[in-house]
């Protein structure tokens, strides 16, 4: 028997994830492959890649092969009054990725919560993010940050809007010497920007990191935000969750908690998400929004044990052989649980465990490999 699940890693992951989200009562969101191009033009900084495949519809509308799912969900969201609409999706998106030649079709699974986002909702989504990673493998890490706290600290130590972009880049790179340099260029001493350096340098288990960070928060507002952040993480209480303020998202869309997930064997983040109320506001929607996406195409490059055989058995047959006898031979082998390929001649590029020949209705073994 070939020791290999029929379904690929991505497909297995999709089944496990969909099952997980259903147990939390999330509804499956299905969408068309096409969306109005305008939606992406107006929110291109929210997209992973700003390159979009476009075409003209039969009535002249400019459409796009969707590069993203979240924007469509937000556009069509109808949360109940005072409540939260909870959706999950499993869709293919079309975009370029770094290093790839041209566009790719990428399987993306994720979930979105839209409406009256509260701490209970944030806690649930973080738990689901951590459990989603666990569906993909044993060694995982979820890193959590907060754009509001980061913004508050950057402002409190005296960095203005002009320094925001290069500063966030340094934070995302854990580049503390870069932050120091930027500080020097703005005439700030290390002591003045120390709270920001502490925020970047101090990462790890919430129980270890958050009490230490509370001591160095430069304003009462930052302290309070950190306390609220700590309360949520305490409720989540997951072993493979770290606080790490180098997790950064676009500050013009993301206002609160942001997070990303890693899987051992995958060289980049496989999960990304956060609270993005600023996006819904820009789209004219009076509702909060929180969600994450998993990039299952990254599982393709994951370390997998190489398979030794493509099929268990190849059954050769002579063209003069009775076709019923050939079929019976093949079915006899399949009844033993083998994967059987029938061919008139030995296949050159197929690796097989055993080679059989149908001779006058008898199944004769010609070759057996270990």
């Amino acid at each position: 028997m070939i020791e290999q699940n029929v379904f690929g890693q991505e497909e297995q992951a999709v089944f496990a994830l969909r099952s997980l989200y259903r147990t939390y009562g999330y509804s499956h969101y299905r969408m068309s492959k096409f969306e109005e191009y305008d939606l992406y033009v107006q929110n291109k900084n929210f997209l992973v890649s700003d390159r979009v495949i476009t075409f003209n519809d039969v009535n002249g509308r400019l459409l796009a092969l969707k590069p993203d799912v979240t924007l469509s969900i937000v556009k069509n969201a109808t949360p109940p009054k005072g409540g939260v609409q909870k959706l999950y999706y499993n869709e293919n998106v079309y975009r370029t990725t770094q290093g790839a030649v041209g566009y790719r079709e990428i399987m993306q699974v994720g979930l979105e919560c839209l409406g009256a986002i509260d701490d209970a909702c944030i806690c649930e989504v973080l738990c689901l993010a951590e459990q989603s990673l666990a569906c993909l493998g044993e060694q995982t890490q979820l890193c959590v940050s907060h754009m509001g706290i980061l913004s508050e600290v950057m402002e409190a130590v005296g960095f203005g809007a002009k320094e925001r972009a290069p500063l966030l880049r340094c934070v995302a790179e854990k580049n503390t010497h870069g932050i120091l340099q930027l500080g020097q260029q703005c005439g700030k001493t290390q002591k003045q920007i120390q709270p920001l350096l502490d925020l970047v340098e101090c990462y790890g288990a919430p129980a270890k990191v958050l009490p230490a960070l509370k001591q160095v928060m430069p304003t009462q507002k930052a302290k309070q935000m950190l306390c609220d952040f700590a309360a949520i993480l305490e409720a989540v209480d997951r072993e493979r969750l770290w606080v790490d303020f180098s997790v950064v998202q676009d500050a013009s869309y993301y206002n609160g908690i942001v997070f990303c997930g890693f899987l051992a064997g995958v060289p980049e983040r496989i999960l990304s998400g956060g609270q993005y109320d600023y996006l819904t506001a820009r789209m004219g929607k009076d509702m909060g929004a929180l969600g994450f996406a998993l990039y299952l195409d990254l599982l393709k490059g994951c370390n997998k044990e190489p398979t030794r055989y493509d099929v268990d058995a190849v059954l050769l047959y002579d063209k003069t052989e009775d076709i019923c006898a050939v079929s019976a031979c093949a079915n006899e082998l399949r009844a033993k649980g083998l994967c059987v390929l029938t061919q008139p001649t030995p296949p050159e590029k197929i690796r097989y465990r055993q080679l059989y020949q149908c001779k006058k209705g008898e199944c004769v073994c010609l070759e057996a490999n270990a």
Partner: protein, 208 residues
């Protein structure tokens, strides 16, 4: 078996200097000093594996996860913007990215400035920040010849002592950014090899 820490070092004098620092930091691999053409060296006891890599490729190996950490010049990081952590400035391989021109050059603001460089992004970003329109001529080597032959007005290139410029009758007209060797880490590897990476960083900091 202890998981190995995969380290990409730039081939050449910089890589050798950096290896000595790593050795002092407790990440020794004596085999790397043997005089041969091998490119991969392991020390199972220390849990470390080194590779010699073309300097401009270190960041690619690290970003793609083939190496957990590596050492790359700030020029490469600024030019290619790999998605990696930049954990430490090793304060070695110190030089600067600068604009150089023939001695006595005057910029004619009535037309775009022609710039020869290997570092197109760095040059474009620098002149964009100054609002100066430029025409980039991307070259892969011997950049200094370009203004001498009239191909371009200026060059954007790395300057160390300035000897090559002086010998070709060029001079630095503007410094863009200081350059030095940086320790970079793959973001995923940082999570799962965190203790080893942090130990290396702390031991490198002690040496400075």
């Amino acid at each position: 078996m202890k998981p190995m820490l995969n380290i990409a070092l730039p081939k050449g004098r910089l890589g050798e200097r950096v290896y000595n620092m790593f050795e002092q930091a407790g990440f020794e691999c004596p085999a790397i000093k043997e005089n041969n053409r091998k490119l991969i060296f392991e020390n199972e006891q220390a849990g470390v594996r080194y590779f010699w890599v073309k300097p401009s490729d270190v960041a690619i190996y690290v970003q793609r996860g083939a190496a957990d950490i590596g050492v790359a010049g700030k020029d490469i990081l600024l030019e290619y913007c790999p998605d990696v952590y930049e954990l430490f400035d090793l304060q070695t391989g110190i030089c600067r990215m600068a604009v150089a021109a023939p001695v006595g050059f005057r910029d004619d603001l009535r037309r775009p400035l022609r710039v020869a460089t290997k570092f197109s992004k760095i040059a474009a970003d620098f002149y964009a920040s100054k609002g100066r329109e430029i025409d980039i001529v991307h070259l892969n080597g011997s950049i200094e010849i370009a203004p001498i032959l009239g191909l371009t007005d200026v060059i954007v290139d790395i300057v160390e002592t300035g000897t090559t410029l002086r010998e070709n009758n060029l001079e630095v007209v503007e410094e863009i950014v200081p350059i030095s060797a940086r320790l970079i880490a793959n973001k995923a590897a940082f999570q799962f090899q965190n203790q080893a990476i942090e130990r290396l960083v702390q031991n490198l900091k002690i040496q400075q």
